[in-house]
Amino acid sequence: MLEVKDLHVTVEGSEILKGLNLTIGAGEVHALMGPNGAGKSTLSAVIAGKDGYEVTSGSITFEGRDVLEMEIEERAQAGLLLGFQYPVEIPGVKNIYLLKAALNAQRAARGEDEIPAPEFMKLVKEKVGFMKMDASFLQRAVNEGFSGGEKKRNEILQMLVLQPKLAMLDEIDSGLDIDAMKVVADGVNSLRGEDKGILLVTHYQRLLDYIVPDHVHVLVDGRIVKSGDADLARELESRGYDWVVEDSAA
């Protein structure tokens, strides 16, 4: 469903991604790992459409559409959703506002009517319960005053309500204690499906004990230098990244 070909990206003049290739098929969970500064977060930011990233060559297609030609919101409406490493606080905008506006925007893009209020409430209550969040979070401003763990849960809550075709989760495990990690992992696992893809961007293997990926890729200096299955992640955990870096340099 997602195809990234020979992607070169520069940020403020320096090249971060240097010919990245990645294909994610329906039903697959991919983990993108790598040392700090390898460009892991850059990939998901470029796919989501963040300003300040210049694609100098290469392509990104999602279900045959040229992602780089789409507006940020069109990407989300098409089912490409990014979960942030550092979710933004949005003072004054209630969580429930955001959820309904986002869901209806997606429905409008598909030519569907707005979700009826009772149906929306039922859906949201169910998902809030699943994420073990208190319903009072819905009335609070998005992420405002939330702890790190609450922010991450909130990101996953949005995913559960919006049901993306491809969920990209950027360091979703950072700052989580073990209980919160389990809740977040359960949330992510519930997003798995035959017609859905997941891209996990992570520095540590820990998360992958809970969300077992089908494919693991190691990103070093702007390129994927090694790919494998879940065993590769475990090997990285015990041996670190240096050997991959050295192998790739050789």
Binding site: G92, Q139, L162
Partner: protein, 448 residues
């Protein structure tokens, strides 16, 4: 002929038509005219008017009207959907057909000024003009020269008014631009309590001039919540001078909400004269197109242990120009007072402009005062975050704009008013995203 002379000629015409009136009114009229003539329209060289050019008023030839005809259907659409005691004025003229004073409780008087004068002019003549004299400004002087209609609200001691009192001012579209000089007098007896809603609204094509003077007297322990919802047509000119005198332990809560008008100037002044008196100023101004909205506030802490809290929010789009000047004066020996003031502004366009100036003058040493002003744009990170959830850019901006206004609007506990403001601010956003529906959902959830 000078601009001032043209207005004085209109006054002379009007005076020639008038029947006999009490000598004190004629004398004040004369004093007002003389003061207006001496002062002239304010020039931008005067510090108080540095950012506000009133030539659009001065150069116009406004007429007076005596008829209050207004389409009932249009009026109904403009009226706040509230169970209230209501007086309606059309271009300053009392409109009995659009008013409703059927069920005023004991101890409450809500009268058109003309009727209050007929009934007992001396009772009006005492307080009227005591707070806002002809020296306050050219506009106050002009109002005094022309005054003939408006509202008198009196609350007997310990009266708690069951429903809001609405003073509705409708501006009518017509061939000639009309001026009106309403006069409002509120006298709240000891420990009385009321909500007053002053609502300025009108037909979209209207281009009239309203020059309001309002005097509010709060006796010991009285509580008044005063909404001024100004959503006048975008070509209307609106000048308002509001003076509040507060005795011991009284509390005045102002919601000065400005959404409309092409040229708007509000002067809000409080005299905190007794210990424990408290003034709370909440303000919101929203400007688009070439709207000009100027808010000047002044709190005089004349007694020890008096309190003021002020929070004004400005939202300016297109080439709109906002002015905020908030002054707090702590008199000598007014110890242990607390004064807080903040003004935050949001500029939605590169060409919008805000001039903000907080001023503190403190002549006592044991005081707690704080003030601050900020001006910023919408948070681009937040807009990006909303867009990554599929919300289009315009809607994202709209949501964040509403959120900015929200800090003041959260304190409004009259739904009819807050919905009007929310929808007005959101409705002015292009391609808005059914924000009304979102509001409903959010409140439905919290009610469960």
């Amino acid at each position: 002929m000078s601009d001032e002379q043209r207005f004085l000629d209109r006054l002379a015409e009007r005076n020639a038509q008038r029947g006999d009136e009490p000598t004190w009114i004629a004398a004040r009229r004369q004093a007002g005219a003389a003061r207006f003539e001496a002062l002239g329209f304010p020039h931008r060289r005067v510090e108080e008017w540095k950012y506000t050019d009133v030539r659009d008023i001065a150069r116009n030839d406004f007429v007076l009207t005596e008829n209050a005809d207004f389409s009932p259907a249009t009026a109904a659409a403009l009226t706040l959907p509230l169970d209230a005691h209501r007086l309606t004025f059309v271009d300053g003229v009392f409109a009995p057909a659009l008013s409703d004073l059927g069920s005023l409780p004991e101890g409450v008087q809500v009268l058109p000024l003309s009727r209050a004068l007929e009934e007992n002019h001396e009772a009006v003549g005492g307080p009227l003009g005591r707070l806002t004299g002809v020296d306050f400004s050219s506009f106050a002087a002009l109002n005094t020269a022309f005054m003939e209609e408006g509202a008198v609200v009196r609350l007997a001691p310990r009266t708690v008014v069951d429903k809001p009192i609405v003073l509705q001012f409708l501006s009518r579209a017509g061939e000639q631009d009309v001026m009106s000089h309403p006069r409002i007098l509120v006298e709240a007896g000891g420990r009385s309590e009321a909500t007053l809603i002053e609502h300025h609204v009108g037909e979209a094509e209207a281009a009239n001039f309203t020059n309001l003077v309002e005097e509010i007297i709060l006796e010991r322990g009285a509580i008044l919540t005063h909404y001024k919802l100004q959503e006048a047509p975008l070509k209307d000119r609106h000048i308002a001078s509001i003076h509040v005198e507060q005795a011991r332990d009284s509390r005045y809560v102002s919601f000065n909400l400005n959404l409309g008008g092409g040229l708007v100037r509000n002067d809000l002044v409080s005299e905190l004269n007794g210990e424990g008196a408290e003034a709370i100023y909440n303000g919101l101004f929203y400007g688009q197109g070439r709207q000009h909205v100027d808010n000047h506030t002044l709190v005089n802490h004349n007694a020890p242990r008096t309190f003021s809290r002020e929070n004004y929010k400005g939202i300016l789009d297109d080439r709109a120009h906002g002015v905020f000047n908030g002054k707090v004066i702590v008199k000598r020996d007014s110890q242990q007072i607390e004064a807080e003031q903040s003004n935050a502004n949001l500029l939605l366009s590169d060409r919008a402009e805000i001039d903000t100036k907080p001023e503190l003058e403190i002549y006592a040493d044991d005081v707690k005062c704080a003030h601050g002003a900020t001006t910023g744009q919408l948070d681009e990170e937040a807009i990006y975050a909303l867009r990554t959830r599929g919300i289009d850019e315009q809607t994202a901006r709209g949501l964040l704009t509403l959120a900015f206004a929200g800090e003041v609007m959260d304190r409004v506990d009259l739904d009819a008013v807050s919905e009007r403001v929310e929808l007005a601010v959101a409705g002015k956003l292009p391609e808005r995203f059914n924000l009304a529906g979102l509001v409903e959902t959010a409140s439905a959830f919290s009610e469960e």
